[in-house]
């Protein structure tokens, strides 16, 4: 498969691994903030190709992991209403709410359907006009423009039974929070698909404000290793910068059409991040012109205040301050089948990846 297999060439991978081993002159801690990167790093066994001087940390880049409990609770309340169909990406099905999950509600008869695209959710709304179809919008800047296009299409068609419950978020504010509150990092491996939409410039604050280097990386093993090599080089020469490794998809300006469509439909708002609490200007909500499609405005619901399990340290793990095996619940009360915190739910969550891919 083109643009995949060439970047998995074993010879190139081993060559890069060699170069990395020969370039290290001290210890390095790099953080990736992308669930796709966490997953790829573990899937391809990248840590086994790196020297011990390099430490890879996993930050809050998995939109599922950072989806707050109250979002799931709201979705569950909606699912229990008559004639409501909840339409969601598969990722959200097992995320724990305060006392249940969408998966559990499905077993109790709630109409909850998995889709691969917001456009499928629109199809369901068109075919079943008697149902109120509520689409759960999660994801960062990679996914939000698709949701924007979906909502715009719903408006153009005058669909009356399609609503959005948005948990969309943007990356830079949480990266800023990590640098200020989290473990000391030497550089960021930046999310390649977010940058495909936004352009590389959204990460300029990292070298400018914090003198932290970053490389925008692709998702194949050679992409990741080349990015790590580029970060080492930045550190060794003390020249922090924003570099694009994933140049076949990412440019400085990004996808301007997608950005325009995104901000035609959405505007910035504060958002609640699991493990981080409220971060200002880190979320996306529908603009006034699209209020008719906002589930929360059209059908207000109340949910109970909840408290997270006090032993759950997802927040520290997402900040890179702790590793999964520092958690007293890890592998005991908290497993992929029975997740407590969302770090275990998503197959890209730090705890889930760690559980699957590390020996005990």
């Amino acid at each position: 498969m083109k643009y995949i297999e060439e970047y998995r060439d074993k010879g190139l991978i081993l060559k890069l691994s060699d170069h990395i081993k020969k370039s290290v002159t001290g210890n390095y801690a790099f953080m990736e903030v992308c669930g796709g990167h966490t997953s790829a790093i573990h899937r391809f066994g990248i840590p086994s190709l790196l020297p011990s001087e390099i430490s890879l940390l996993s930050g809050p880049g998995c939109p599922v992991c950072v989806t707050a409990t109250d979002f799931i609770d709201k979705a569950i309340v909606y699912s229990q209403r008559e004639n409501v169909t909840i339409v969601t990406f598969g990722d959200l099905l097992r995320v724990p709410g305060s006392s249940s999950s969408l998966e559990k509600e499905k077993t109790r008869g709630a109409d909850i359907r998995i889709v691969f695209s917001g456009l499928e959710a629109l199809n369901i709304a068109r075919k079943e006009p008697e149902k109120t179809v509520i689409f759960l919008g999660i994801g960062f800047e990679t996914t939000a423009p698709g949701t924007a296009a979906t909502v715009r299409t719903a408006k153009e068609e005058g669909l009356k039974n399609f609503l959005l419950l948005s948990a969309h978020k943007v990356m830079p504010p949480v990266m800023d929070a990590i640098v200020r509150e989290g473990i000391k990092i030497d550089g960021f491996i930046c999310p390649g698909h977010v940058a495909t939409i936004t352009g590389s410039h959204i990460f300029n604050f990292l070298p400018e404000k914090y003198k932290l280097g970053c490389v925008i990386a692709g998702f194949e093993p050679t992409d990741l290793l080349q990015s790590i090599l580029m970060l080492i080089s930045q550190m060794n020469s003390k020249s922090p910068d924003v570099e694009i490794q994933y140049s076949r998809a990412v440019t400085a300006d990004g996808n301007l059409i997608a950005q325009h469509q995104l901000y035609e439909v959405f505007e910035s708002c504060d958002a609640n991040w699991r493990g981080f609490g409220n971060i200002s200007a880190s979320g996306l909500r529908l603009k006034k012109e699209y209020e008719d499609f906002d589930a929360v405005k059209r059908i207000p619901v109340t949910i109970q205040e909840n408290t997270d399990n006090p032993s759950c340290i997802c927040g520290d793990i997402l900040r890179g301050l702790k590793k999964p095996d520092n958690c007293s619940l890890f592998r005991r009360a908290c497993t992929p089948e029975n997740p407590v915190g969302a770090c275990m739910v998503s197959s890209e969550g730090a705890c889930n990846s760690y559980f699957k891919y590390h020996s005990q």
Partner: protein, 74 residues
């Protein structure tokens, strides 16, 4: 983040395209990309094409990697 996979544009019908990944065909919305033609490669994410893949840049990345020195095994 997020699962986005390079896919070959096989046919286009208005704002939707059929795209192929290894022979499996997916529907992709072209709302965010322009001047896409059959034979182009796009990045497929959640049912949308989020970018066209630059063949030139892709080749350059590979060339750079191929030109890197091979160290002797220790």
């Amino acid at each position: 983040m997020c699962l986005s996979v390079p896919a070959l544009v096989v046919s286009i019908d208005g704002q939707m395209a059929d795209v192929s990944v290894g022979g499996a065909i997916f529907k992709a919305g072209l709302h965010m990309v322009e001047n896409v033609k059959e034979g182009d490669y796009i990045l497929l994410h959640a049912g949308f094409a989020i970018q066209k893949i630059s063949e030139e840049e892709a080749l350059e990345t590979l060339n750079l990697l191929n030109e890197m020195k091979n160290y002797e095994n220790e």
